[in-house]
Amino acid sequence: MVMKHRRRVRIILDEVEDVRPSALLYMAAVIMTSRAAGGSKAVDGTYPRSRKVELLLQDAGFFRLLGVRHRVESPIRRFPLDWIPHLCGNKSEGARVEELERKIFGNTTSLAPAASSSIYVGVTEAMTNVTQHAYPIDENINPPWLRHRWWLTGHVNRLRQELLVIICDLGIGIPKTLSQKFSMAQIREWLSFLPSIDPRDADLIRAATILGETRTGKPNRGKGLKQMKGVIDQVGGGSLHVLSSYGDFTYSFPGRESIANLPEPLIGTLIEWRLPLSGLLSHDLGEPR
C-alpha cells in the first residue's frame, strides 16, 4: 500500500491474541521496508490489547527494531522463551552470530563445539544466500535500502527443549533465483522429474536444498539450505521450513520431506530452522535462569 499507492498505513494490533515468531519477523521486515520507501511516518500502528502479545513483541525485540517505545518493564528472560532479539543487516556478519549464541545460551550453558560451529555456518550461509542471491544485481530493488537486506530472530524454548532460528528477506524468492541460474533440465535432474513435468515453487525450494549434492558443472553456489538440512541430520532432530513465492517446503528428521503450495505468494523467503537442544548442548539447560 505504502509503496504502490503512496499512502500511509496504520497496523491495528488491538485484537491480536497470538502471533507466530516468523510472522512477527516478516511484519517487521515489511514495515521497515515500507518506511524506507515512504518515510518514517509511512507506517504506524497500535499496541495490542493483549498483555501476552505486547510482552511477546517486546521480548522478541520487535518494538526495539522499529523504534517503538516499550510500555511495560520486562525481564530479558521469561520462561520458557529466551529470545534472539530481532536483527536486521545487509552483510554476512559472523560476529553477530556468535553474539546471539552468547545472548541466548549465556555463559553458564556450553554448546558442544561442533554444534556451535554448525549453527554459525548455518546462519552465516543463510545470510550469504541473501546477499548473494535474493536481490540480483540486475534487478531494480526498490527502495535501494532493501538490497542485500535480511532479518533474523529466534529463541530457545526451554519447554520444548528447542532452538528456533528464523531468517527472512524480501527478495525475488528461491523459485525465481533457481530458475534464473539453472536450466529446467538441470533442475528436473536434481528432482528426478520426467521431462514433461514442470516443478512447482515448492519443488524448486526442495531442489535448492539438494543443490550441490550432484555435480552441476557450475561453481558451487547456494548451499546454505543444504547445510542447514545437514545440521538437522547431524544433531539427530529438528526441521527446516522454507516459504518462498508459492512454495512451502519442510524437511524434518529423519529425512522426511513435505511440500505444499501457498494460496498467495510470499514476497522473498522465510526460513524457520528448529534444532533440538539435546543435540546441541554439552549438558542440559536445566532450570530456567
Partner: protein, 110 residues
C-alpha cells in the same frame, strides 16, 4: 623455497563468512586476495591453520580456495605441492580440497 604460515583466526578473523567482499568484511574473496595469494607468490609454500575460527561456510571456503583455480590460475597439482591445510577437523581439509579439485576439473586445469 620458503614457507609462510597463516592462522585464519589470529591473522584474518575469528568470524570468516561470505563469498565476496560485498557479502561482508571477512569474506573468502578477501582472504584469498589479501592473504593466500600474496603468500603463495612471495613465499612459494603456504601453511594455513584453520582451527580457532567460529566456523566455515561453503561460500567462504569455495571462494577462498576454489577461487585460487578460478581467478588466480593455480592448478590443483601446484596447490597440492605448495599449500598445506592444518586442522583438527579432517572433513574441513577434505571439503577444501574438493572445491579445488572440482574447480580444476570444471576448468580443465589440473
Amino acid at each position: 623455497m620458503k614457507k609462510s604460515i597463516i592462522s585464519v583466526a589470529q591473522q584474518f578473523s575469528r568470524f570468516p563468512a561470505g563469498r565476496v567482499r560485498t557479502d561482508g568484511d571477512f569474506s573468502g574473496e578477501r582472504f584469498r586476495e589479501e592473504f593466500i595469494v600474496p603468500a603463495l607468490v612471495d613465499q612459494g609454500r603456504v601453511s594455513i591453520e584453520l582451527d580457532g575460527a567460529a566456523g566455515y561456510g561453503s561460500s567462504f571456503l569455495e571462494e577462498a580456495f576454489g577461487g585460487l583455480v578460478r581467478h588466480n590460475k593455480f592448478t590443483e597439482h601446484e596447490l597440492r605441492e605448495r599449500l598445506t591445510l592444518v586442522s583438527k577437523d579432517q572433513t574441513l581439509e577434505h571439503e577444501i580440497w574438493s572445491y579445488i579439485h572440482d574447480e580444476s576439473e570444471r576448468l580443465g586445469r589440473k
